[in-house]
Symmetry: C2
Subunit: 321 residues, 2 copies
């Protein structure tokens, strides 16, 4: 089974769904700004998991395609607004929305994506009770994302962020949308509450693992594969879980928050983190989340889609960038 191939099979329908459900209407520039990021691609992992969850409970792609598109638009909405807040001018290798259309344009493009996501989800096929439940889950996920982003911004000015706070932040920023994707796919796919709750938890765990494994990748992947300097999190002084673990152990990292460092200095810092067990600790934690998540899928019978979902979980902690 080729995971990338299986994701692509489904994401090509998501691409078409975006064109169909979010047509470029008047005022054209607003909709061009709204479509800019969704059209630029991305892995489409979240909408793919909506579809895979539905398939794993015996439903199909057609039934949940609107919901998959809605989730992808919500994801893009958060990227557009986050880039304004974080002053990130490049996204997916292109100028960010606020660079091309100005800040006002980007705020409105984000709000339009958000509105459209709910509009599309409202028109999903299925029993009204199930659709309502999905809207509830998605709106709550959006609120969690706002809370997570707020915490992330707040953490920048703090030196006492705990492991628990960090995990809560990334659960909200990343975990809940994977969780909501899986749960929505299962619910609209017709599953019982017990099954859809298990899918939520599966998504939550692999979403958290995805995010903390990012910190490991930043330390361990060579520059030629990573596409940016290794250890940039350290130089920027980011309070990642690795940094929190090391600081708690009293490790003194000379390059932490210094903005730049030589290759030797980076190698030295990474070695310090390996010696303190900080990188291993976070890697093990990510592995643990994935193992726990995968166990939860025992609740459904074996199927091709289940195999792919298990591979998605493994992908979270085996990818090198």
């Amino acid at each position: 089974m080729d995971l990338i191939e299986e994701i692509k099979k489904r994401s090509s329908h998501v691409d078409k769904g975006i064109e169909e459900y979010l047509p470029i209407d008047k005022p054209y520039e607003l909709y061009k700004a709204a479509r800019y990021l969704p059209d630029a691609g991305g892995k489409r992992l979240r909408p793919a998991t909506v579809i895979l969850a539905a398939e794993a409970v015996g439903s199909d792609l057609e039934t949940v395609l609107p919901a998959a598109v809605a989730v992808e638009l919500v994801h893009n909405f958060t990227l557009v607004h986050d880039d304004i807040m974080d002053r990130d001018d490049i996204r997916r290798g292109m100028p960010a929305v606020h660079v091309k259309w100005g800040e006002a344009g980007a705020i409105l493009a984000g709000d339009t994506l958000y509105s459209k996501a709910f509009e599309i989800l409202t028109h999903a096929s299925g029993e009204p009770e199930r659709i309502l439940k999905c809207i509830d889950i998605l709106s709550k996920a959006c609120r969690d994302i706002c809370e997570g982003q707020w915490m992330d911004v707040e953490f920048e000015d703090r030196n006492d962020v705990t492991k628990e706070e960090y995990l809560e932040m990334i659960e909200k920023k990343t975990g809940v949308l994977y969780a909501a994707s899986m749960q929505i796919g299962a619910i609209l796919g017709g599953s019982s509450e017990e099954v859809s709750d298990a899918f939520y938890e599966f998504g939550r765990l692999i979403g958290i693992a995805f995010q903390i494994y990012d910190d490991v990748i930043d330390m361990t992947t060579p520059e030629e594969i990573l596409g940016k300097v290794r250890g940039s999190d350290l130089m920027e002084g980011k309070k990642t879980l690795i940094a929190i673990h090391a600081l708690n152990k009293g490790v003194e990292l000379r390059i932490f928050g210094k903005g730049e460092a030589t290759t030797e200095e980076i190698n030295e810092a990474v070695q310090q983190l390996e010696d303190a067990g900080s990188i291993g600790y976070v890697r093990d934690l990510a592995l643990n989340y994935i193992a726990k998540g995968k166990e939860l899928l025992n609740i459904v019978d074996d199927s091709e889609s289940k195999t792919i979902l298990l591979a998605v979980a493994d992908y979270m902690i085996t990818r090198s960038y």
Copy 2:
């Protein structure tokens, strides 16, 4: 019947509803930022019309209170984001949200209000089909508001805005949320589709009238009542319907877009607009929208709530500020 008193009777429940449905939770500063504007008051006209529409079709306040709160939160969400875009630093006599919490804080506070509005509406009481229909209406209204705001920003750089374009812009910026409020109140109140559609149209018409009458007020209300210099729209070069009418008639307004003017110059400009029939034209148009709107309410039996709704319509074009 004392209109202000009748609105207050209902808005006091909306105040309590906001506290109940949008509690100040962790992270506290995010929720304080989100609650800041709703707590600062405002007329609460929109939620009051949700309630009045429900009453006029035979339902009651309790049934539609969550929906009324949802509409008020959506209204506040648009204010928070609009103030960032328009660089308006004062709102309701206080520093705007982006002044107190920074731009990132205001973007997130707005997004939180928006998410919460849908979450609350999802939990409204009523048949799931009716709630879904209301979510559809509200999400479409939000998208219209984005389109209207986009047009408004775009119009600033154009000198060829037509009457039709202006009316479409204010219909979207202001009309649709009144329309949605009335329709949602009627739907959750249990009305037929014919009745709820009439309420939508009633709200749309009085919402447009409200906005174009604002332009008249800016010209005709003395500074001591208006709370700002009369004719400020002219000095700012705003393409209001009055200005569009006058420019089309070839009237040359010396102070248009000049940023400042003496009292004599303002009086002279207003006189020019009166002579050209521009102010009368817009006043008549507003009156016409209100008359058409009121006729639509013939679809329901007379009741106290209907009388109040008719008074709300008249208020739109009799208020002096």
